[in-house]
Symmetry: C2
Subunit: 342 residues, 2 copies
């Protein structure tokens, strides 16, 4: 019996055979693509983490400019970052994909190639999803993760006096986006585009902080430090004071021609970094290493009782820190040309 | 500290306070909307079921014609149907919602009202999601369900000789869609529109079949009997022979002016019924009741070794049954005007 009779079946077959769904033998995914739903075997003593993320043409990427394989990578990597932000590890994902017919050939192959690479790197196989036809490319990714019961790191656990840390350097993805906009042809190997095209969620760091009970709260930096810190503080019912001089801005090789003040602005308000922001009790800060798996960890300020966000400038002058990060209800991708409004 | 500073935060707050996310005290959802991800406590001895579904303006509904509360109901009900099709019960869901600013007021309130009703009816609270701004209304719903380990009913379990059953009457949703297209104003109480606007997934039946090991395979009828039966047969490596005279077509009160032959065509190829199609070993058919919770269960044919789909017409003549149901890659909502092509 020929079941290749419908374009939808054909698309599902190609996704299934891409390798993104090839679970290892000990995988949690018992039944993958091809039934009404996927089956997942939860581990005893663990809670399940659930997250989903839009990834939409025009809003999050440009169809004709972003390399298809970078979209395959990024659609999963950014959703996995939410699992990292809870201190968990990803176990499997669902992909909802809407595509024009024109993109069901070579574009899809390259997209699935990027998806396979990131799924294997983070041991997070494709378990199922939904496909449909659409004039625009639309994606939604659901990631299922696990964390030991009562070990999840929430946004709400920060207390006055806690020290605020970030991983990595902030603003590099935004710089990459600016470069992406300014060049006509995208060279996949361009190091300055790497963090914009192929972000790396900090799963190992998140798990380590959760496992050793090091952090009191955590969030991933997807929309920008100023915006995401506000969310963490609001959830915890606290405020924060950041020291501008300590915020790790983009590496000098990444920001040729960018002034220090602009680099700080990028670090405060640039989106898409997918670094982790976490808080640590003062008594535990000695146990926080200067780097984890090669990624620097930097203390950038402290949590305050006063429910305000403050920034101590390099001059010593203290100012209010306003959320200046990415808000999808304010600006969409193509029209967002200035850093400040994104 | 004012956290109402961004439209996105405001939208999330309104969704959170809609009541769709109010889990009961014994709920599996430990942490809902407002963190990086949701936390879910799996039950011991159960597997987790995962499914996601697109629900898109233009493809699946018409923004200006479908009542917003019916979209809230249907977006979850149709995804929950995939959980029913595995013999499981829904536990919680994630909603990804993209909206124009014009729809963030009254439309959203009505949408959330329908969503709350269906979430409460099926005890499936909102656990999280993602929101963004978009010119078109886009939704993606992920439902998490549970089923006792090794009790899930798959598409792949049908064996030659098994008797094929369906729940309910087929084609009523398609008739409702035709009526929906033909009337200018939608009366929410119109019984003939009920199954198109407010479908009811057969969770109780699915659980009963799974619990008592009654069925060898199962699928839900979302795209039409001819198309979904083909999927079940392909997964099981078998064929099927249906008897046209036994297929339960739309109730007479629902199909005023529709000929018998057309009613059969609607039953074979109409989408959106969300009834269950399942197979039972001949030795167990005596234990299948004629109705379950008021919904008729009807034997409509049998599974064959020969990998073909056959239809025995009322005349006794046997013909090939071709998949004529909904394929999103063939037709989109507004352009699909004939039953046969949808």
């Amino acid at each position: 019996m020929d079941t290749r009779n419908t374009p939808e079946n054909d698309l599902i077959r190609r996704i299934r055979s891409s390798g993104a769904g090839n679970p290892r033998r000990d995988s949690a995914v018992q039944l993958g693509i091809g039934d009404d739903a996927a089956l997942f075997s939860p581990r005893r003593g663990y809670e399940t983490i659930l997250t989903c993320d839009w990834f939409l043409e025009g809003t999050h990427f440009l169809r004709d400019k972003h390399p298809a394989d970078s979209l395959g990578w990024k659609c999963l990597a950014r959703a996995v970052s939410d699992i990292a932000a809870m201190g968990g590890e990803p176990r499997c994902f669902l992909l909802s994909l809407a595509l024009p017919e024109t993109h069901a050939g070579r574009w899809l192959d390259e997209f699935l190639s990027g998806l396979r690479r990131v799924a294997r790197k983070f041991e997070c196989p494709l378990a199922g999803g939904d496909t449909t036809r659409r004039d625009e490319i639309l994606m939604n990714v659901t990631v299922v993760g696990e964390v030991r019961s009562s070990r999840a790191l929430l946004r709400s656990g920060a207390r006055p006096g806690d020290i605020i840390y970030v991983s990595g350097r902030l603003g590099e993805a935004e710089l990459g986006l600016q470069r992406f906009r300014s060049v006509r042809r995208i060279a996949k190997g361009d190091a300055r585009l790497r963090k914009h095209l192929y972000p790396e969620p900090r799963i190992g760091l998140g798990r380590w902080l959760s496992h050793y009970g090091m952090a009191t709260s955590m969030i991933d930096l997807s929309d920008g430090l100023s915006t995401d810190l506000l969310r963490l503080c609001a959830a915890s019912g606290v405020g924060a004071r950041l020291e501008a001089s300590r915020i790790p801005t983009a590496n000098k090789s990444q920001r040729i021609g960018v002034k220090n003040a602009d680099a700080l602005d990028l670090a405060l308000n640039g989106g898409d970094d997918y670094e982790l922001l976490f808080t640590v009790r003062p008594s535990k800060t000695k146990r926080v290493p200067r780097a984890f798996q090669g990624v620097p960890l930097t203390a950038i300020g402290e949590i305050t009782r006063d429910r305000k966000l403050k920034l101590v400038r390099v001059s010593g002058h203290e100012t209010n820190l306003l959320p200046g990060g990415w808000d999808p209800f304010k600006t969409a991708y193509p029209s967002a040309t200035s850093t400040a409004s994104r």
